[in-house]
Subunit: 149 residues, 2 copies
DNA sequence: CTCCAATTGAGAAGGTTTTTCAATTACCCG
DNA sequence: CGGGTAATTGAAAAACCTTCTCAATTGGAG
């Protein structure tokens, strides 16, 4: 068992959760993988350790581990569920947490940052996906009240 | 009909696609909305213009318009479909386009950039989501051949 | 070991997205 | 302005994906 796996298991126990076969399997699959794994891939891996493990349990395990911030969701640039009109050129969206009002902004200035990441990782960076979350002016003004439509 | 709507319609025609009721409805809904709309919301809007418009057509329309880069998907921070082990603290992922190998990196230095966006938009920015896409060292080396597992 | 709450699997229910195919529609042409 | 025609569509069904419910199982404290 690798170090990271042990750490995560200890964390689980520290929060009062049981260490079960399914949780072990999911954590092992993720600590052993160099890429993000989908719920289905995790299920397949888990079943190699114990074919009785059900898909439902993987969903529950992933939810728990995400909630404890022991694993993180990684957005893979598809399966998005909202759409907005595209302005010409390269833009990003800033979405209001309360009312979901979105603004598009351009002039993204990530050049230096990206160069540094490329140097550190050895990757050639071909694209980026940046989205910001915040509170829009109207919702800040409205404060405690209901979200503005 | 607003300007942006007309532009998008012209673009559609320019690419040799027909301008149909359903496409008009989707484009009008999006140009008229201050926030990203889901497929279902688009369907509801479209049906207000013509109750005969089916959900399937909305799917097809959204796919087409996205492909033409006339609209853009906006990731709303849920419904992600891959997971990765979390390192402590705030990190981001850089995913290889070819083999999906992912690396995590920290030290994200967006402070100044975020301040500027906040000034320009009036939003108070509470969170960000940044993911990078690239080609990993192994896949660069392998070049034309099959993706590395 | 024993016991008990936490956890699980199975199955069904509820959603979402894709496929198929005949009917309809937008638009080119005369 | 009408036809002719290929693109587009709606409906229904199939294929998926995610959540719920509940009885059976299991991990770990004592
Ligand atoms: Zn708001
Ligand atoms: Zn950018
Ligand atoms: Zn690669
Ligand atoms: Zn960051």
């Amino acid at each position: 068992m690798d170090d990271h796996e042990q750490t995560v298991l200890d964390d689980l126990r520290a929060h009062g959760y049981k260490v079960t076969q399914a949780r072990r399997a999911v954590i092992r699959a993720l600590t052993g993988s160099v890429r993000p794994l989908s719920v289905n891939e995790l299920h397949a891996q888990a079943q190699r350790m114990n074919p009785a493990i059900g898909l439902v349990t993987i969903y529950r395990t992933v939810e728990l581990l995400t909630h404890l911030d022991l694993i993180r969701p990684v957005h893979l640039m598809d399966n998005c569920h909202g759409y907005a009109v595209a302005s010409p050129g390269h833009t990003h969206h800033l979405v209001c947490k309360k009312c979901h009002r979105a603004v598009e902004f351009d002039g993204c200035d990530l050049g230096l940052f990206l160069e540094q990441v490329a140097r550190e990782t050895g990757y050639r960076i071909t694209g980026h996906w940046l989205e910001l979350e915040g509170i829009c002016a109207r919702c800040q003004a409205a404060d405690g009240s209901a979200p503005q439509p």
